[in-house]
Symmetry: C2
Subunit: 345 residues, 2 copies
């Protein structure tokens, strides 16, 4: 059925070895022969079997991308970046998505994936169990994490402490003293560092400015839009003083705050300044002030390092800090004078 290298060899009147060299652009084939072979191959519609060459070389020419979700901004953008680098260098991208389902994770890690299926793995900001991480390391392929640390694995991403500090300080510099925190917490309760670091940075920045953090204004969310909405509802429906600003650990949550604010009639930024992290694709349209990062570039860089390593450049994979940038838009404003003495309803 499918045309194999033998068919091409026969049709071109050469050996399979020559065909192999010719189609892969290797030397030691005369130009005339190469042209003839290429013509025949094209004519017959020959394409090498990846399984066969994979078996022979021990390489699969595909790298895995492990992501908890694909329909969230950070991951979608990162996958885009990985894909870009991969396909431009002739690799395939195999997507492993846990989809939040903790149940099937175990199986995924030890069997199907990782092992013998891919040449390298890009881990996207995942909350992995210790055991899963061990499994990862047991497989001897280049690894790199993007957007969050993974024990014993080089990682590329922003300096989360610096990012959260910048966000908090922006609010403080605007005169805000009553600042709420909506921090992310991974739903699966695993060892996920990012949220913790961001929350710690917030607390440190507040204390450094001589401000106290109000435990009533310490909100949790799972990084989603809805979490942001719920947080604002809770904040505004709880009796007592209201903060004049809120720092959200992700733009998606900040956007939730903004959407819900309109419903609740709280004006932004007049009643509440909002700042997020990410520079989500909707942030600009929503006028959301944020500390931006670029997951596409981060993932692309991570993938490039992986591929370079596979190309024999030992040591190509290493941790690197990605840039971030404070982007001031309309969702944050100076604390209005009258708000400095009265507490909002």
């Amino acid at each position: 059925m499918a045309v194999s290298i033998d068919d091409v060899a026969a049709a071109a009147g050469v050996s399979t070895a020559t065909v192999s060299r010719a189609v892969r652009g290797l030397p030691r084939v005369s130009e005339a022969t190469r042209r003839r072979i290429l013509a025949v191959a094209e004519d017959l519609g020959y394409v090498a079997s990846s399984s066969a060459s994979g078996l022979a070389t021990g390489k699969t020419s595909t790298v895995g991308v492990l992501a908890p979700y694909v329909n969230r901004w950070f991951f979608a953008a990162a996958i885009e970046g990985a894909n870009r680098e991969l396909h431009s260098r002739g690799y395939n991208l195999s997507l492993f998505n846990l989809g939040g389902q903790t149940g099937s994770r175990e199986r995924l890690f030890s069997k199907t994936m990782v092992h013998k299926q891919i040449d390298a793995l890009l881990v996207l900001c995942m909350a992995l169990t210790e055991k899963e991480i061990d499994n990862l390391h047991r497989v001897d392929i280049p690894l790199v994490a993007v957007g969050g640390p993974v024990r014993g694995c080089p990682s590329i991403g922003v300096d989360d402490y610096a990012v959260a500090t910048a966000a908090t300080n922006h609010l403080i510099s605007l005169g805000h003293r009553d600042i709420a925190l909506l921090h992310g917490e991974d739903d699966s309760a695993l060892n996920f560092e990012v949220p913790k670091v961001r929350a710690q940075a917030f607390a440190d920045a507040m204390h450094a400015a001589g401000l106290s953090v109000n435990p009533d204004w310490d909100l949790y969310g799972n990084f989603t839009l809805r979490a942001g909405q719920q947080a604002l509802v809770k904040l505004w429906h709880t009796p007592g003083p209201k903060p004049t600003a809120i720092f959200c650990a992700s733009d998606e949550m900040a956007l939730g705050i903004i959407f819900e604010a309109r419903r609740l009639g709280v004006r932004i930024p007049e009643d509440l300044s909002v700042i997020g992290i990410d520079d989500h694709e909707f942030a600009d349209a929503a006028g959301l002030t944020t500390v931006g990062q670029d997951p596409t570039s981060q993932a692309q860089l991570g993938t490039k390092m992986l591929l370079d390593e596979l190309d024999g450049h030992t040591g190509a994979v290493q941790s690197v800090l990605a840039p971030h940038e404070l982007i001031v838009r309309e969702s944050t404003a100076k604390l209005s004078p009258r708000r400095m003495f009265v507490t909002a309803s």
Copy 2:
């Protein structure tokens, strides 16, 4: 280095054939033997080489997903659905993303992908050239399109004509007579049916209601948020009467309208009713009225059919119309009485 089936066979004191049967759960292996082999395999960390078994069986156990973008709602959701089905049935997902780069498309189709790399292909709502489609059909694997028709290929998706009709009629039933249309147009100017069908349905519904379509209110957008923003700016900055409602061919564009409206001071729905298509994850938060569809289910179904076909259920792959549903939220309202006689500024 890596442990092979021979290692397991030797360690367990059986032949490779028996190991092969045992690890794959095939019959003709005594329970005792199977247990022993499984234990040894586990112990040695044995995992079958996909290349080797692929070579032997002619199957790759991976299906391709071809998507123009991964960071747009529809595609991200669809990929999630495909992934769900695939991994639950032991298949891998190979992502092919053209990323809008027309340049590298040619190569992608005829060589690397499709051929010998995947057992089946899920095509996500792509604008493909005739030649590309031909290439697709030349490869003899099950194919299915989701979210948009592809010549000669079963497809699953909503009835775009019915969807657009429902949206338009909703606006008309609210009393609107001056309705603008923001329709999508694929940036690559290929044979993409969806936008055309939606626009046609709009025109037909308008005419059926005895309403005329104002050419000045015929806007184009490439389905993005920004396109929606720009459309509203253009609409509001153009001298002359303004529409009282707008039908957007996608929620992303409708959200752009909503965001920009706030900036421009146009009130929604008082000044302008807005309806979209999709039920984007942000639609609910934004209070956007829309005609919803579920790309995750659509893709999951498409994938299921593909897999069933591979399992020998000939004819499993077939076209099916996915459900849609009008979801009324706050962005649309009855045309206010005073607006029925005066024309908005």
